[in-house]
């Protein structure tokens, strides 16, 4: 029992899982029906699953995908990319402009997605070169695209907010006929499985952590920190394009000003809530994904409590502060020591009792 507790508290996922658990319990007490899933028929005549749980998973999928790339960048570069949302706007604009100039069929969608991946990867690579080659801090290097990115998207769109509508796109952003689960959730799961396979089958995960912990050591062991960082940025670029395209498909238009607005903050938060150190080193992708779901669950809960949408941020901030305080090393250490003291005393008492 003791060792299990120890393992749990030492695990990186302890705090995020506990926070998620608390949110679930809170909602169940507040409204036992909160997590009930109903089967309904949507406007297109498909049978679909509806409910708060589905909307949490659906709503968080873009941020969760972005947080995968951010975790890799955070781990290897010891900093965060704050331009992901702006780059998603660029990727979305490329996606829409390709779709608008062609008839929308599946190969065209795939081509558009591929092109937006390439563009996002190139922009991300620009950040990566600044960070890895010129040794500029990630946050500052990405501040360039943060301030210019949405304007580039505006330029690609020619200053308008073009719309695209096609049953194919609705099935990507909403539901595929016959499958009751929202497609973004499926894409998210597929993406996570792909990343897991890549990290398990190659040494990328290990190398990323080594570069994040000590660049010198990595260099001495024949790992090129520059290459690892660039790979992290390219993967992040693909994540950005995927998230951007999903969001475009969901809302059916590209608005460079509001597409995934403030998502970069949510993404960095989900990385931090997931127990990853923002100063680089060890990482856990699943922690980040859980972090994204925590944030979305929190938002949905607050909406369900009829908090006005603009005020949600304030309550979110309070919960975030509570979570980070509990996961801070100082508090963790304190709790651990207190627990040890109590546990030791008990053990001593038992020993004394036995001796007696």
């Amino acid at each position: 029992m003791g060792s299990l507790f120890k393992k749990l508290t030492r695990s990186q996922l302890a705090i995020p899982l506990f926070a998620l658990f608390l949110i679930v319990i809170f909602n169940l007490i507040r409204d036992p029906e909160f997590f009930s899933i109903a089967i309904a028929t949507n406007n297109d005549g498909n049978t679909v699953l509806t409910g708060n749980l589905i909307s949490i998973f659906n709503g968080a999928s873009a941020v969760a995908i972005l947080s995968i790339g951010m975790t890799l960048i955070t781990s290897s570069c010891k900093g965060q990319d704050i331009s992901v949302a702006a780059m998603a706007a660029i990727a979305g604009s490329v996606f829409v402009s390709v779709l608008r100039s062609n008839e929308i069929t599946i190969p065209v969608i795939l081509l558009a997605f591929f092109l937006s991946c390439v563009v996002a990867a190139l922009f991300s690579l620009f950040n990566g070169v600044l960070v890895a080659v010129f040794k500029i801090q990630p946050m500052i290097a990405t501040l360039i695209l943060f301030s210019a990115g949405r304007s580039i998207a505006y330029w690609i769109n020619g200053g308008a907010t073009p719309t695209v509508s096609s049953p194919l796109l609705t099935s990507i952003g909403g539901f595929i006929p016959g499958i009751p689960i929202p497609t973004p959730i499926i894409i998210m799961v597929v993406f996570l499985i792909l990343i897991t396979i890549v990290l398990r089958l190659t040494n990328l995960g290990l190398y990323t952590q080594v570069v994040g912990i000590s660049e010198r050591t990595a260099h001495m062991n024949g790992i090129s920190p520059v290459r690892i960082k660039l790979i992290a940025f390219i993967i992040s670029g693909v994540c950005v394009a995927t998230a951007g395209c999903i969001t475009v498909c969901r809302i059916g238009l590209i608005n460079h000003e509001t597409l995934l607005l403030d998502a970069e903050m949510d993404v960095i938060l989900s990385v931090a809530i997931g127990g990853n150190a923002l100063s680089g080193g060890k990482f856990n992708i699943y922690g980040s994904v859980i972090g994204a779901y925590i944030i979305q669950a929190l938002t949905v809960t607050l909406y369900a409590m009829k908090v006005p949408s603009a005020a949600v941020k304030a309550y979110k901030a309070i919960v975030i502060i509570v979570i980070v305080v509990f996961s801070s090393p100082v508090v963790k250490d304190f709790v651990f020591r207190t627990y040890k003291k109590l546990f030791k005393k008990q053990a001593e008492k038992e020993v004394q009792a036995k001796a007696a």
Partner: protein, 368 residues
């Protein structure tokens, strides 16, 4: 090497020329860029740029940004980051307007309120970052969310101040003697600055003095440069960081009040992206996010440069907003690359490429 005795006697006459420090070098580049940019603008576009009022409007419109950026400079020198400045500014404007309008507040009361809000955020950030060792980005991000959310809780609709004593304070203008321009009717209109500009300049000077001549300021550089060696030297690292956040919080409060003095309205959209502009000003001004390098005078000129480039873009006929942010991005890119290259060249070899006064002191001794 000279003996100590010689140095003492010949100190005045033959002071060995020291290599310029990173901080001063980066600051000099910024100041030169700003002056050069403004000169070129004056010659090429003339018109508005020759008008002293437009130059002073650069200060009038951005006084709050200068104040926030000064607070951020302290934090960045200590190796941290603060992205809550814009949110706190918006909260202060809204809270003060609501207090003045709905609760029959006084001007003095509203000033205390602004300082109090700033102090609250400063305390919160300071305790969480310095004593609980939570990453500053996350703490101040939460602070920003909290402030932005609180604005809408205080009042969703934008509010305008109509409090008489406050409006008198808001209308207060300080005329600069000798400067001015001739209006269309040929009447001489003297150039004016707002009260906020005076506050901003006082803040800049105060922070510059703190950084240069107080123990706290020197500790900030030490902590930012290498917190571990600062600790072994007996500097209270935690307290230094705590005070940096505390000061920055109070300055955000002051910045919010200055913003209110400029616009006279509380709005949830006030000071949007001000935190990022403050960070950009600091970077252009030569403050490094790694800590230990930076100067508040550079920050002042960084803010001015950032805003001058926007004016130039507008003056050259590219009035669409997206040109402005693209040029801002390009300017940031230029400065970031320049700093990175300069620092890399100064740290590593390639010293022969540089003029003598640019070479770092240590290497000179080693070679000599």
């Amino acid at each position: 090497m000279k003996k100590g005795k010689d140095l003492l006697t010949e100190k005045r006459r033959k002071k060995p020329r020291e290599a310029i420090s990173n901080t001063n070098l980066l600051m000099t580049i910024t100041i030169c860029t700003f002056i050069g940019m403004y000169m070129i603008a004056m010659f090429v576009w003339g018109g508005g740029f020759l008008n002293p009022q437009q130059f002073l409007d650069l200060f009038n419109n951005n006084a709050f940004l200068i104040i926030i950026a000064c607070g951020l400079t302290m934090i960045m020198i200590s190796g941290g980051i603060d992205i809550s400045g814009g949110g706190v500014t918006a909260l202060v404007t809204m809270a003060c307007v609501v207090y003045l309008e709905d609760h029959g507040g006084t001007v003095a009361g509203s000033i205390f309120m602004a300082l109090g809000i700033g102090l609250f955020f400063g305390l919160l950030h300071g305790i969480l970052v310095a004593y609980l060792e939570i990453q500053p980005f996350i703490v101040t991000l939460a602070g920003m969310f909290f402030a932005r959310g609180m604005v809408t809780i205080v009042s969703i609709a934008p509010r305008t101040a109509s409090h008489e004593a406050f409006l008198n304070l808001k209308q207060m203008r300080i005329t600069i003697p000798g400067l001015g321009y001739y209006g269309k009717t040929g009447i001489f209109i003297p150039a004016q600055i707002e009260l906020g500009v005076v506050i901003a300049l006082i803040v800049v000077i105060a922070v510059a003095i703190i950084l240069k001549w107080t123990r706290f300021g020197r500790n900030l550089y030490a902590v930012g440069g290498n917190s571990h060696s600062a600790l072994t030297l007996g500097i209270n690292v935690k307290r230094t960081k705590f005070y940096a956040y505390l000061f920055a919080g109070i300055l955000s409060g002051i910045g919010g009040y200055v913003y209110l003095l400029h616009t006279g309205a509380g709005d949830a959209a006030n000071a949007t992206q001000a935190e990022m502009q403050a960070i950009a000003s600091n970077i252009i001004g030569g403050t490094l996010l790694t800590g230990g390098v930076g100067n508040v005078i550079g920050t002042l000129f960084g803010t001015l440069s950032l805003k001058t480039i926007t004016n130039i873009v507008i003056a050259s006929g590219l009035t669409k907003p997206y040109y402005q942010s693209i040029t801002t991005g390009l300017m940031l890119c230029f400065f970031i690359l320049l700093q990175s290259v300069i620092l890399a060249v100064r740290e590593k070899g390639a010293i022969e490429l540089l003029p003598e006064w640019l070479r770092p002191g240590k290497k000179d001794k080693g070679q000599g």
